[in-house]
Symmetry: C2
């Protein structure tokens, strides 16, 4: 008989880490917040989200799209343009996102000393 804590705990770990994996990429959160302020074209995201390579941006967008958080829409023009926007699932995850931000505001002494691990 294992002394493991109850089963509910395993489910909570699973669920929590699933959400974390959706947000895990270095650029996932910045892209989500950007698209939360409005639909953008690929080149707009590239320019506005920060110092990101095109390869990494494409990877990030594909991942978020695969996970259902953002939608990709190709507008047939010449030259073609591609627009990205949040899906309803993407909008819904701003809930947990805000919970994290508010926790950070209340508990992390402003300068967020821990940012050693975030420092670009």
């Amino acid at each position: 008989m294992l002394e493991q804590a109850d089963v509910g705990e395993l489910e909570m770990i699973r669920g929590t880490r699933a959400v974390l994996s959706l947000l895990a990429g270095k650029w996932n959160v910045p892209v989500l917040y950007l698209l939360a302020s409005g639909t953008r074209r690929y080149s707009e995201v590239l320019y506005e989200v920060g110092e990101i390579s095109k390869k990494t941006l494409t990877q990030t967008l594909r991942g978020l799209e695969r996970d259902g958080l953002i939608a990709r829409r190709v507008i047939p023009e010449v030259p073609a343009r591609v627009e990205y926007s949040l899906t309803s699932l993407g909008w819904s995850i701003t809930g947990p996102l805000m919970a994290m931000y508010e926790w950070a505001e209340q508990h992390l002494p402003d300068d967020v000393a821990h940012s050693d691990r975030l420092a670009a």
Copy 2:
């Protein structure tokens, strides 16, 4: 003039990603949930948290301690024993953790198909 979204957005990204970085390690969440169910000794965590190497466990515990989420206490016995427990900061972060778990329950179709990225 940059067309960057407003400054508040940058702060939200910073705060959110700071929290994410606190929870980022593969074993951080499992350890936090385990300690939320009670104080444990090193060897108990090692056994109960899952298939983890001692090196990785020590790394995980040190990181959480450095970030102020857990407390390490050495009890002078022979042989010595070490106990780990949540700090009040550690308890407070269960709020965002629950927000994520609840979101997962409502929006991730049970089998959490995305777990490809979590599969050990």
